[in-house]
Symmetry: D2
């Protein structure tokens, strides 16, 4: 993991470390966008399983428990690892893509129309 | 979205923008860890749906098509947005969590044992 | 859909109708177990999305609303359709598999140990 | 599990056994539609994980291996168990819902337009 370079941004650096992990194991042959999208879904289900039977409200207190927080961190990290890797193999500029989607969402969910409301934009 | 500060890292900046988006709409009341974990799973399924019926190999060419790449970027961005938001509400240090998980995975999947093999670590 | 036979059980009949639907469209070429497992996950996420931002308690009242119930039925039916189809292509005897799993679960979750508790069996 | 009655259909019988399992453990308090939809998604991800890194084509041979088939059966049974339970708590008539959805799908995917094609209906 000693491949950090000063001139890279933080996300480029993390993407590079995730890519190196797969390259070292010759795993790129398995890392098609299709398979990586499945891996993200599998890891997100493992994250979700931590909150499966608790109430939504009670889940807010879970990260205050050190052991629970460690498990949340691990499962969330797995989601990020495969999400970073699909960005690698699909050559996606993540900060640009995330900010573009936030702009789209701003249009779909105008502040004045959805303040305090959780309805889907098509029903606004 | 004009809240960027020079002294923040890129991920802290993105987390802050995602948080502001929810705060502006008074949505934090819905953003429990439980609900956000569901949202990540829903968005990851929408990403996966893009690759549902294509062959794994053929999915590698999809990002070369501009329209397909735009849809992949949008769905992947949604995964990141909710993943950043669960890091916000759970106060998770993402680069630290991701690097800690890569270390754990290095131990579970030693290079010499799993080079070119996709088996699960418990079967190595 | 006029292929029902009197001597089949209800599940065999439904499996047969789902299979015919795919055969009529020459879709079996896409219906590998891998792809069908993805389809089940995609449809289950669409079902989950109906309950995304509501409280667990409030979701109990949703099926009392006719429009909401119709959407739940549609999404749940999609889960069943792909689940029946993976049973078709994998030649799985569903009632036997379901009852075998209920037996396994009975051993993992003995009534006296988990009455009223939602913890995972490994923590009992 | 000795609660079968002769005059029930197979699916009603299975629904009844799944319901009794939860009632015996006083688990209905956790079985809101929201939580059950999450459970279906979690179990479908566990099923999908069995096919994660294999090629779509190779997944067709997996059920021929007895050990692999047993695992597929277990994970698929878990999907069915929670899907039957959400039908229980939402009072859904499953055969009717499944057949209604097959009719809807017949209209969305006319045989002559989608024979041998996997595209989504909105693109037909």
């Amino acid at each position: 993991m000693k491949r950090r370079k000063a001139n890279r941004t933080e996300l480029e650096e993390l993407k590079s470390e995730v890519l190196a992990f797969a390259q070292d194991r010759e795993w790129l042959q398995f890392h098609s966008p299709k398979n990586l999208s499945m891996a993200i879904a599998v890891e997100s289900a493992e994250l979700m399983q931590l909150f499966l039977w608790c109430e939504s409200h009670d889940s807010r207190a879970l990260p205050e428990d050190a052991a629970a927080k460690a498990r949340i961190e691990e499962e969330l990290a797995d989601v990020f690892i495969f999400a970073l890797q699909i960005a690698n193999v699909s050559e996606i500029d993540l900060p640009a893509a995330i900010r573009r989607k936030l702009e789209i969402n701003s249009t779909k969910y105008p502040v004045e129309k959805c303040r305090g409301r959780s309805v889907k934009y098509s029903e606004l």
